[in-house]
Subunit: 181 residues, 3 copies
């Protein structure tokens, strides 16, 4: 195994300020051509989502409500969401027609067998448990979204979904980490 | 809900410079044992990919052309790619034999039903639309790749793919965020 | 194409220290209400995993052994893992019952056809090769995990899995990048 490098980021003395070039996402507080200097910031919090029934759920408003104030302090950065569970998932998909969420749940139930015909060994926690683990790895439990001018820079039709794969709803925790300047 | 912590990163006064230990990825401008100090940097841009036909496409050259110059300024960091759409996806896979991309498209079309036999409710935007949403969540719309010595540190055979899941090609936007020192 | 913005992060002169509010993840060295200042740090290393047989493997202990010492220096941050291969994958799932890993391997082999009946064009490297590429994109080759108080902030039942999709085991490389304060 190679040993690792530890980089401690310290500002170079007298390092010149960087000029911003013209582009669509100049932080709104700066004019093109102006220079900026900012300290990198980190913010981290754990959000507890209330129990959701099995299926796909749009959680953008809930997440935004929790982080909006902190988000507004970042001109440029990344927002990282991490679901601390193995039988639910996070994904980004359509934020408008709820049929898309229903159809996605239909797909997951078709592609991952459940019940008598399923070949699973892990069945102690119920017939929905092993399928839930598989669905969790198919969509994943983590998302990273760009921050631009104090907002999540998603596309017009994109929303954050939490997909609950268990029959019996429980609260779910999401660790949100913001990093940027 | 817990309140969040906001960490403002400021250098500790008199914090010692860190010695680099021997390893494969010492930044090329430093010799083993030398110390370094660098200010963290952020760069962000939106790349518009021209329309691609339905299927999997290798876009590494296109992405590199857009970010190569900025990349070269980072000794160590992360490159984040975010596709702002819900009917296409980003993934990392083989960069050599185009048959791998064709076979992956074949797989996606087998695993996600389309047309008359498909059980979807969301069909207003055409028979390829709901399958496209599902494929987008299967592969995801976001990638994070390590930066080492000014380059994307992918494996020999790895390339960045954009998978277009719609029949009618449209331009696709990717927000690229670079962060590192 | 828009030009990009390069943000050089420099501390603002006289920027005030931030007060930490009460919450579960106050860095353990600070009391609620105390203020903190810290320089952002980056650490990066490549870990070589020994050959694993085809299937899903829990690698949390192996990864932690390699990064634990560096991790302990971060109060808040992100750990990024990047598998440099296209026929294996990284995912987060159950860390306890090994049946979950076996069942996940069973699922992958059911959903991705292999052998005579499979429709693949890319067959030169063996019948397990094209299925391996597809499985790699299904689960992905990259993970980002929050760091809180010097530890990976995963849920109680979460573990890091490396899924080997090839029949013949080879060593696999994971680039780990730590970033935080």
């Amino acid at each position: 195994m190679q040993t690792s490098v530890l980089f401690t980021a310290r500002p170079k003395p007298f390092s010149p300020l960087v000029s911003l070039k013209a582009h669509y996402n100049t932080p709104s507080t700066l004019k093109t051509g102006e220079s900026m200097a900012a300290a990198p910031k980190w913010a981290q919090k754990t959000i507890t989502l209330p129990p959701h029934k099995r299926g796909c759920h749009l959680i953008t408003p809930k997440i935004l409500k929790e982080i909006e104030q902190d988000l507004s302090g970042f001109n440029c950065g990344l927002a990282h969401l991490f679901l601390q569970h193995t039988s639910a998932s996070l994904t980004i998909n359509e934020n408008y027609d709820s049929d898309v969420r229903d159809d996605t749940e239909t797909f997951l139930n078709r592609v991952v067998p459940e019940g008598q015909s399923a070949p699973w060994k892990h069945t102690l926690e119920g017939p929905d448990d092993m399928p839930a683990h598989i669905k969790s790895s198919m969509f994943g439990c983590t998302l990273t979204i760009p921050i631009t001018n104090g907002k999540l820079n998603m596309g017009t039709w994109q929303g954050i979904w939490m997909c609950e794969h268990r029959d019996y709803a429980t609260p779910r925790k999401v660790v949100v980490t913001l990093n940027g300047i």
